[in-house]
Amino acid sequence: MSAPEPSVECPEPIAESTDPNELKQEIIGRYPTKVARKRAKQIVVNRGSESCEANEISANVRTTPGLITQRGCSYAGCKGVVLGPTRDIVNITHGPIGCGFYSWLTRRNQTRPEGPEAANYMTYCFSTDMQEENIVFGGEKKLRAAIQEAYDLFKPKAISIFATCPVGLIGDDVHAVAREMKDKLGINVFGFSCEGYKGVSQSAGHHIANNGLFRHVVGSDDTVTPGRFRINLLGEYNIGGDAFEIERILESCGITLVATFSGNSSYDQFATSHTADLNTIMCHRSINYVAEMMEEKFGIPWTKVNFIGGAATAKSLRKIAQYFDDPELTARVEQVIAAELPAVEAVRDQVKPRCAGKTAMLFVGGSRAHHYQELFKEIGMRVVAAGYEFAHRDDYEGRRVLPGLKVDADSRNIEELKVEPDPDRYRPRKRPEELERLKSAGFRFKDYDGMMADMAADTLVVDDISQHETERLIETYRPAIFCAGIKEKYAVQKMGIPLKQLHSYDSGGPYAGFRGAVNFYREIDRLVNSKVWSYLQAPWQKNPELTAKYGCD
């Protein structure tokens, strides 16, 4: 790879001159035959929305050992992602020390306790720190004692337990211990069998977390949060303060947020979340299970929203207003949009001339690699390649593929809860004719079109991208910016390309909502137009010829 041009301008992308099919063949040509065959199905040249042929990608399949993946494990998805932002549950990791240590405060989930005395355990790391004798003789006794010690010290509202790899292997029953301690202590104690080897990525952990929350917490308190338009926000984890911004917007619209799963959340929010009248989903991948189950059990419809981008935020607010079908709410939502959007558009217009025509790649998560494409488009940047780390086919191709999805052995191991309508509390939120009216007016329930529909033809979609593929894509396209995570960050930056972390946002955020869009435009402007990338060559590397000799003889 040659050193990048020492110019402030990003090198012109060569996407136009690159045949993505050839690049794909070249990339997989490096792999052993079987691996190449597998990866060929996970690297797709997008057909674009005009094509009548559907895209198909292989996703949520096993990671190929040794390829250097971005992916993490089931524990990370369960304890780290979904339960990580819960502040008033004492989350105890049952296992050796590492898992608890690495998931301690590293995801930038912000939280705002109700007051100085209110519970906030997010700054703490709780672990049974299993030792060899616990592995040999079993760790249940230690776990029981740990729960007791946690209770004695903190008297929390709830304690949850997260199983790590060896726990499942040695047969510790975290659920039995949880039930026993729940009876003994009189508080909610519940466990998650989220051993790291479950499933093929973090995604399994999301599902396990959803199941556990649904089974043990959701619906345990029938207190109704007052409000006329009452919704839950699912799949928003308050990285860098995103949930704070969404809360602000919803509040100014007069929409009551009953519960967020799980950014800036509290246990009571989860417990009463079944009383809301609409579930709105941000990160489809990590939380759609809870939405599905709440609909079946309690009759709450769900719809996909997206608060990433000013226009997307406006669209999502209008969608919520359309659902509630109340003139007063509709008017207020329009007022809020009218009051907020101009500031977003002003910054967008400032930034756009400097960013337009530049290219971006996004390889992250299970929804953000899709959501953030809209922000890039708004400032005239082109996404030339994107993919998810742990998504399923429906996140790429849309939920229409769900009926045809084959459940493989790894997914079958993740429990599917059998949910039936609650005999007392199932309550359809809309009459059938209202639902029909909404649908015919274009309102889409439980639907998601996925990433590919929003990507241009001949862009590359890569699932579970490897280090090798990352390097080849960058060398070929030289994007102005690459979005991924901390493991990728410094390797990409060594290539002279700025990397924006879209898991943790580096130290930035919020990027959601109206103010978030402004922050993001400015951040991207800073990254793709910074002169700091222009100093890669020292003067003597640019002009190595000597004009005189001094003192060298």
Binding site: A3, P4, Y31, P32, V35, R62, T64, P65, G66, I68, T69, G72, C73, S74, A76, I92, G95, I97, G98, C99, G100, F101, Y102, W104, L105, T106, E117, N120, Y121, T123, Y124, C125, M130, E132, N134, I135, L143, A145, E149, A150, L153, F154, T164, C165, P166, G168, G196, G199, V200, S201, Q202, A409, N413, K487, Y490, A491, V492, K494, M495, L536
Partner: protein, 458 residues
């Protein structure tokens, strides 16, 4: 308050660790393996381990941290990870072409009992290991020891796999630098070079985890000990191993395997520990200490004597790894600071004994705990406040709640830079450490001084 639930009253816990002062073995093994040139560390377990370790190391160093994983699924956990590891070895050598793959185990693969040498032999028999390339391994179950012992295990693996007894002794000394920063490894090399010694340092993460921005990503950066050098360590005259916890197992293994006599010293942090290091090098190699080192020593001593009034009597709480804290406690005592709370997470009675010895004549009782945690340390501080905290980034929560200045030292440092580039070992490292301590103490004094006592000159 960020740690609002931490009570003052200390109740002994038997089962629950809160706010650990250590992490698990595999990350130490991964860090050590990065100190071999052309090496790709490989985590044999669930892929989450590898992701967590890479993330933590990348956040600490702000550098690429490349490593692969066996990506266990439930099937591999039941039937064993052989197929995964063989496939990984094939893929790694085919795609990433390292000189050596350094496999470390995890709690998962240890619990199911995977035999790494047997699997590596299988990979070799299947033709997956190209000629002249190596697969080495260390057993690092996460339920034993800590990241420090994991580092020690992988360092020892370098001896087990590569050291060969030579016909004749080579005119060189082995240096095992301990679990220290790349900047520290550079500083140790600076000292040995100043003394005119030929050395082999292993591992060596300098120029791996503090690499330059060049516009090129190098999968295998310039630094790291070369395999052809590692092969010669069995023929060296002596081994100087720094930090008993991190370096003694490798040094002793080399002594047993190739009869290379070893000198196990404390990490050269602070005046006296660095003195012992230099003096050992001098006597082992039979060289004189050059004037340049005397000058470095003199400068450190000069700062100590000039600023003694600031250090004197200041109470300090220390948290970190055992080798670091033993040397640091000695240094603090030497300049009349008072380390009164000392916590490491790495288990081992030896640590407590050493700290007790070092602080025996201290004018103040000293609380020390090997298998402690930062929650306990915080409680001790609530009961007996200190003027300064020295430890990793997690202590910033204690620092803010208790309004105590913090000098970041140890692993991990996630919110500041500098440790990659500037050492804390050697005399120059001592200068940097004391500068940080002074700045922390004096900034606090300036912040809190009433206007009439606000001083221009110190």
């Amino acid at each position: 308050m960020l740690l609002r639930h931490t009570p003052m009253e200390v109740v002994e816990r038997k089962a629950l660790t809160i706010n650990p002062a250590k992490t698990c073995q595999p990350i130490g093994a991964m860090y050590a393996a990065l100190g071999i040139h052309g090496c790709l560390p490989h985590s044999h377990g669930s892929q989450g381990c590898c992701a967590y370790h890479r993330s933590t190391l990348a956040r600490h160093y702000k550098e690429p941290v490349m490593a692969a994983t066996s990506s266990f699924t439930e099937g591999a956990s039941v039937f064993g990870g052989q197929a995964n590891l063989v496939q990984a070895i094939d893929n790694i050598f085919t795609v990433y072409q390292p000189e050596v793959i350094a496999v470390h185990t995890t709690c998962l693969s240890e619990t199911i009992g995977d035999d790494i040498p047997q699997i590596a032999r299988k990979a070799e028999a299947d033709g997956k290991v190209p000629a002249g390339k190596y697969v080495i391994h260390a057993n690092t179950p996460s339920y034993v020891g800590s990241h420090v012992t994991g580092f020690a295990a992988m360092t020892r693996a370098m001896v087990d796999y590569f050291a060969r007894s030579g016909e004749a002794r080579l005119d060189q000394i082995n240096i095992i630098p301990g679990y220290v920063e790349p900047s520290d490894m550079e500083e140790i090399q600076h000292l040995t070079a100043a003394m005119g010694l030929h050395t082999v340092m292993f591992p060596d993460t300098s120029n791996v985890l503090n690499g330059p921005q060049t516009g090129r990503f190098e999968m295998y950066p310039r630094g790291g000990v070369r395999i052809e050098r590692l092969v010669t360590i069995g023929a060296s005259r002596a081994t100087v191993a720094l930090g008993p916890a991190a370096s003694a197992p490798a040094a002793r293994a080399l002594d047993r395997k190739c009869k290379v006599p070893c000198h196990i010293l404390d990490l050269p942090i602070g005046l006296q520990a660095t003195d012992r290091f230099i003096d050992t090098l001098r006597t082992v190699a039979g060289v004189t200490v050059p004037e340049s080192i005397n000058i470095e020593r003199g400068r450190l001593l000069d700062l100590i004597t000039d600023m003694h009034q600031v250090f004197h009597g200041k109470k300090v709480a220390l948290a970190g790894d055992p080798d670091q804290l033993i040397a640091l406690a000695e240094f603090m005592v030497a300049i009349d600071m008072q380390p009164i709370h000392v916590v490491t997470g790495t288990p081992g009675k030896e640590f407590e004994t050493r700290i007790d010895q070092l602080t025996r004549n201290a004018p103040h009782p000293v609380q020390v705990r090997a298998a402690g945690d930062l929650f306990l340390l915080h409680q001790w501080i609530k009961n007996e406040p200190v003027d300064l905290l020295i430890g990793n980034t997690y202590l910033k929560y204690v620092a803010r709640d208790e309004d105590i200045p913090l000098v970041r030292f140890g692993f991990p440092i996630l919110d500041r830079v500098g440790h990659q580039y500037f050492p804390t070992v050697g005399y120059r490292g001592g200068l940097r450490l004391l500068e940080k301590v002074l700045n922390a103490l004096l900034d606090r004094e300036d912040r809190d001084a009433p206007e009439e006592r606000f001083e221009l000159v110190i």
